[in-house]
Amino acid sequence: MPRLTSGRRHTVRFTLNGRPVSGEAEPRMLLTDFLRHVIGATGTHVGCEHGVCGACTVRIDGALARSCLTLAVQAEGADVRTVEGLAGADDTLSPLQEAFRQNFGLQCGFCTPGILMSLDALLQETPDASEEEIREHLSGHLCRCTGYGPIVRAAVAAARSLREGSHA
C-alpha cells in the first residue's frame, strides 16, 4: 500500500453496520472521530481517549476494539459494527437492548454503547455465559452511574431470553 502522508486527507472506505461508507481522514485521525465527525454516527461515545473506559468499543471484522485506539485508516476495507447496528431494521430493540431497558441497565448512558457492543459479542460467542464471566467481561468498561449491578442483571436476563429464543 502507498505511504499516506501526514497533513493530507486520504479516502477511507469500509462497511459500517452492513452499509458501505467513505470519507476523508488524515493518517492521525482516530476511528472514533471518523465515525462521529466524518460519518456522523455519534452512537459511539468517547470517554478517556486512551483505551481505559471502554465507551468507544466497537467491532472490527468481528473482534472487539477500542475505536479510540484505532486509526481511521486502519479500518480501510474492514467490517465495522457499532451500537447503531444492534437494533432491528424497524428500530425494534435487540434482546440485549430490551434487557437494559427492563433492568435499568443505564442511567446517563455514556458508557452504554461500548458495554452493549461488548456484551453483544460475549453473548454471541458464549450464549451460556455465567454471571462471573459477564462480570469479568465488564471489567473492560467503566460506568460511573449504575454501580454495575443493573448492567449485570440486564446481561443475565438477555442471556436467558436469547437462550429461550423468546425474541425471534
Binding site: P27, L30, H50, I60, L64, L69, E136, G140
Partner: protein, 275 residues
C-alpha cells in the same frame, strides 16, 4: 487528546517494513495491535513521524511450533494465542498469565510482541518471557539478531531495541517434562496492571521466581525449594532487593509483603504441578 501528525505505511512484507523503519530511524515506530502505542500517541508521549503498520504482513501472523520453542510472530494478537489449541500443553505459564493481560476488549487487538516491545514493568507477557528464559528476534534492514529476555528489558519502558529495528518474533521455550509452572497476580481490578505479579518455574534442580510490578523491569532469581529451611530468608532478601517504592497504588512495604506471599504461593503451586 489527538496524536501529532505522522505518515502511515501499511507494509505488505517484512522487508518493506524493515526498509521503511531503517530509513526513518528514531522517528519511525511499528504499529501492530496499537494497545500500547496508541495511548502514547493520543497523549503525545510519542511523536513519531512515521508509523509502519505490520498487521498486513502474513508471515508475521503465525504461531510456529519448533523443536524446543514456540515462536510467535509480531502480528499475533493476544486473543489468537489464547485461543491456540497447543497453548496449555506447550506454554502452561503463558496460558495462566494471558487472562491477566488487559481485558478481553484489548486482547482482541493487542499483540504478544507489542506488549514485549512496550516493556511496561508491570506487564505480564514480559514477565513470563523472562521467567521462561525466552528470546526476542530483532529485525533490521540487513540484519537479524536474537536477544535473551534478560538482556532485552533494560528498565522502565526501555529495551535493547535499536532505532530502525523491529521485533520480528518472540520465542517461548516449550514446557519441559517434570517441570511445574504457576502464575499469581494482585491488581486493583481484574485487567489492571499488576501491583505485584509472580511467575514461578520449578524443576528437579531449581526453583525460579520472576517478579513484575515492583522493579523497573521483570526481575528473576533462583531460590531454594519452598520446602527447604533457608527458603524464607532467600525470598525475603529477594523482596528487599527489588527496591520497591511507594506510589499511588501501593506502598513499598505492601509490595514486599506481596512478593513474599505470592512468591511462596506460586512456587509451592509450581512444585505441586511438577509432582
Amino acid at each position: 487528546m489527538k496524536p501529532a501528525p505522522f505518515d502511515y505505511l501499511k507494509a505488505d512484507s517484512l522487508s518493506e517494513a524493515a526498509e521503511a523503519l531503517a530509513e526513518a530511524g528514531e522517528d519511525g515506530r511499528v504499529i501492530a495491535g496499537g494497545q500500547s502505542l496508541m495511548p502514547m500517541l493520543n497523549m503525545r508521549l510519542a511523536k513519531p513521524s512515521l508509523l509502519v503498520d505490520i498487521m498486513g504482513v502474513d508471515e508475521l501472523g503465525r504461531i510456529a511450533e519448533e523443536k524446543d520453542t514456540i515462536r510467535i510472530g509480531a502480528g499475533v494478537r493476544q486473543a489468537k494465542l489464547q485461543a491456540w489449541d497447543g497453548l496449555s500443553r506447550h506454554l502452561p505459564l503463558v496460558a495462566a498469565a494471558l487472562p491477566w493481560v488487559g481485558h478481553a476488549q484489548t486482547r482482541s487487538r493487542g499483540t504478544v510482541c507489542g506488549s514485549v516491545a512496550h516493556a511496561d514493568p508491570s506487564a505480564e507477557l514480559p514477565l513470563v518471557l523472562t521467567a521462561l528464559k525466552g528470546g526476542i528476534v530483532l529485525r533490521a534492514r540487513r540484519r537479524t539478531r536474537t536477544v535473551s529476555a534478560s538482556d532485552f528489558f533494560l528498565g522502565m519502558m526501555a529495551t535493547d531495541l535499536k532505532p530502525g529495528e523491529m521485533i520480528e518474533s518472540v520465542s517461548f521455550p516449550k514446557a519441559a517434562p517434570s517441570t511445574g509452572y504457576a502464575f499469581r497476580e494482585i491488581g486493583r481490578r481484574h485487567g489492571d496492571f499488576a501491583i505485584v505479579a509472580c511467575a514461578a518455574v520449578v524443576d528437579a534442580s531449581e526453583a525460579r521466581l520472576a517478579v513484575g510490578g515492583v522493579a523497573d523491569r521483570p526481575m528473576v532469581r533462583t531460590l531454594p525449594l519452598p520446602v527447604s529451611g533457608d527458603f524464607d530468608d532467600a525470598l525475603n532478601e529477594f523482596a528487599w532487593a527489588l527496591n520497591a517504592r511507594d506510589d499511588l497504588h501501593a506502598s513499598a512495604r505492601y509490595r514486599r509483603e506481596l512478593v513474599r506471599r505470592l512468591g511462596r504461593q506460586s512456587l509451592e503451586e509450581a512444585a505441586r504441578c511438577r509432582a
